[in-house]
């Protein structure tokens, strides 16, 4: 047996809507098989992974806290990927945004003013954008592969943060723990609702998603992104500069990742620690693809991926399975999303071996 692809004359509208759902269902089936293999009741396992976290108000807040950074980062990445710039170092830009935004509450902690928080957010975006500017510069002017450079810089950012919180920024009154002083009241991103912990980072994410969606849909810039991504040559004839597009997309996604970083630190953690992200920058790549690189789709997919984090924690408690299950789920999901995308452009046919085949295969 072999599988043959037949190109569709047009992209299938039906599948462009349903392919993410097919991918989700396949992931759930694969997950059920995995739980069964681990000796757990698959039904109960999936329930505690994906339903239980949605039943309580506090865990809905946790969902928003986790979805916020994922959506913010993924919206920026969608612009990058649509324009064919493969920024996979958002994790590093997230960290550098968090560091740059924390300069005021950690170094100038005595300054108290309503300006502190807005300045922190701006500096966070700048920090993320500047850090993304390195691979952008290297790609635009030195012809260097952005995939590898942006990823290498993630390790550099992690080590830099580690050095800061163990060295110069360590809390002098913190019993030698590797963490900075906790932020003052002015430096904390407030909660959105009285009912729980969710902070304004989630609102930023929704606003960013809508703005980028409007840009992609209604502006020339959006058109430019799509054209350059599909064919650089066609874009050049239209007078678009792919070099400027590298800068634009990378700086935008860096700024959004930086904003996610400082929002997370200011809203949820309220100090810097050696590790401030459970891999948001990498998970956001999955979010971007599950949302089919559409900012509004990304809002939905961000919530789904946030649920895998919560479900992982819940399943650890109620089932005693490892928290690594989360990563496995996320990886499986991306696999199924990518394979279901084939359905958009191709009809898939199973071909059973026949005489014709044997003749063909002899060379």
């Amino acid at each position: 047996m072999r599988i043959e692809l037949e190109k569709r004359p047009k992209v299938s509208v039906l599948f462009s809507i349903f392919s993410p759902f097919i991918a989700l269902i396949l992931t759930l089936i694969a997950g059920a098989i995995m739980f069964a293999m681990l000796g757990k009741d698959p039904g109960y396992a999936l329930y505690s992974f994906f339903i239980e976290p949605l039943m309580e108000v506090w865990s809905l807040h946790e969902l928003a806290i986790k979805a916020g950074p994922l959506i913010l980062i993924a919206v920026g990445l969608s612009v990058c990927y649509r324009s064919n710039n493969w920024n996979i170092g958002a994790e590093g830009q997230f960290i550098m945004g968090a560091i740059a935004g924390s300069i005021i509450p950690v170094v100038f902690y005595e300054w108290q003013s309503p300006l502190v928080l807005p300045l922190m957010l701006v500096m966070g975006m700048l920090g993320g954008a500047l850090f993304a500017g390195i691979p952008a510069f290297l790609k635009a002017h030195m012809n260097t592969n952005e995939i590898l450079t942006s990823l290498m810089l993630v390790y550099v950012a992690q080590l830099f943060l580690d050095w800061l919180v163990r060295g110069p920024w360590r809390n002098p009154g913190g019993m030698n723990f590797p963490e900075t002083r906790t932020f003052g009241a002015e430096a904390i991103l407030p909660e959105m609702l009285a009912s729980g912990r969710a902070h304004w980072g989630f609102a930023f994410a929704i606003i960013a998603a809508i703005l980028v969606w409007l840009m992609m849909r209604f502006t020339l810039k959006g058109f430019e992104i799509t054209v350059l991504g599909q064919s650089e040559r066609a874009g050049r004839f239209a007078g678009f500069s792919s070099r400027k597009m590298i800068w634009f997309s990378m700086l935008l996604s860096g700024a959004l990742a930086g904003l996610a970083g400082i929002s997370e630190v200011s809203g949820a953690i309220q100090q810097l620690r050696p590790v401030i992200s459970p891999g948001y920058g990498f998970t956001a790549i999955i979010v971007a693809f599950l949302g089919r690189l559409n900012p509004l789709g990304i809002v939905a997919s961000g919530l789904v991926l946030a649920l895998t984090y919560l479900g992982g924690e819940a399943a650890q408690l109620s089932l005693g399975v490892s928290d690594k299950v989360t990563r496995v789920f996320q990886g499986l999901l991306l696999f199924f999303v990518l394979s279901c995308d084939t359905l958009l452009h191709f009809k898939i046919r199973m071909v059973w071996a026949d005489l014709n085949d044997t003749v063909k295969d002899t060379h």
């Binding site: 493969w86 012809n143 390790y155 990498f282 991306l334 084939t342």
Partner: protein, 306 residues
């Protein structure tokens, strides 16, 4: 044994996994497929090799398990990118994410156990040669395999008909297809070879470099191997040069710390990653030579028209 020899030995140990993984990826890329999942296949190899060694007590079975797991895991990538023509960059990332997760689950019960170190194979007489003897003829099996791989890959790619066919698939899949070469099958085999090599490199990490299982123990080496292929402009011998250079850089931080140089350890640990970026800049800033060296169909999907 002198201090210089001791340092050179550690450089060899650090370089071997890089050389092996990069060689595998080189063959994959020469066939026109960009597999960014090296890190994931490597960590799978490391986990499976360690667990198999603990279960059977034989590190040689561990090596086999590493190779097999890497090759099987790469098959997943092959199915998506070759049969379903999914985006190669995104699928490679998926492979890495999945590999980090699955390896964590496989190895979880083995965290903290001390493993069996791969024994040395000593060549009599040759190992008595001053200087070279202990470095080259008193090593473990994976080191010897890495040398054989360099020679073998170079011979295969540039001296055999099959190697020529593989390179033609990577340079122009349509022409190769028109000549009657089975593009998809060639690429499947190249992807699996890359996976097997990454798995072997992972086995080296958990059986030789640090004989234990630690989560994420590949620490970006898969990505460095990818950069090495670019650095080597897709030529096997240059992979060796690059691999040993990188081995030296990553070891230098340990020795610098041992000598008590007053630089924070984090900055020294960042060296290999910064060196990778620097090397990539130097190699690729000349657009022309990059274009000539890169396999022309690299990263492009192929759907045979029937």
């Amino acid at each position: 044994m002198g201090i210089v020899e001791a340092i050179l030995l550690t450089v060899i140990t650090a370089a071997t996994p890089l050389v092996i993984a990069a060689l595998g990826e080189l063959v994959t890329e020469r066939s026109g497929v960009l597999n960014l999942g090296v890190e994931g296949m490597m960590i799978m190899g490391a986990a499976c090799a360690f667990v198999a060694t603990q279960l059977t007590g034989s590190p040689y079975i561990g090596i086999l398990a590493g190779i097999l797991s890497g090759a099987l895991f790469s098959l997943l990538f092959g199915f998506l990118t070759l049969t379903l023509v999914a985006n190669q960059v995104a699928t490679g990332l998926a492979l890495t994410i999945l590999g980090l997760g699955v390896s964590g689950m496989i190895g979880e019960a083995y965290v903290g156990q001390s493993g069996e170190k791969l024994p040395q194979i000593v060549f009599p007489l040759l190992s008595d040669i001053p200087w070279l003897g202990p470095l080259l003829f008193k090593q473990d099996m994976i080191f010897y395999l890495s040398i054989a791989l360099v020679i073998g890959v170079n011979w295969f790619l540039f001296k055999t008909r099959k190697g020529l066919m593989l390179r033609s698939v990577g340079d122009s899949h349509s022409s190769a297809h028109a000549l009657g070469i089975n593009v998809i099958r060639t690429r499947y085999l190249a992807v699996m070879f890359g996976g097997a090599c990454a798995g072997l490199a992972g086995a080296q990490l958990s059986l030789v470099y640090t004989p234990q299982w630690v989560e994420n123990m590949s620490a970006g080496r898969g990505w460095i191997a990818l950069a090495l292929v670019v650095f080597a402009s897709w030529r096997p011998w240059r992979v060796v040069v690059g691999g040993y250079l990188f081995g030296a850089v990553s070891i230098s931080q340990l020795h610098a710390q041992a000598f008590g140089i007053g630089i924070p350890s984090q900055f020294l640990s960042a060296l290999p990653y910064l060196a990778t970026v620097a090397v990539l800049i130097i190699i690729s800033h000349n657009r022309r030579t990059t274009l000539i060296n890169t396999p022309a169909s690299l990263g492009k999907s192929f759907v045979p028209d029937r």
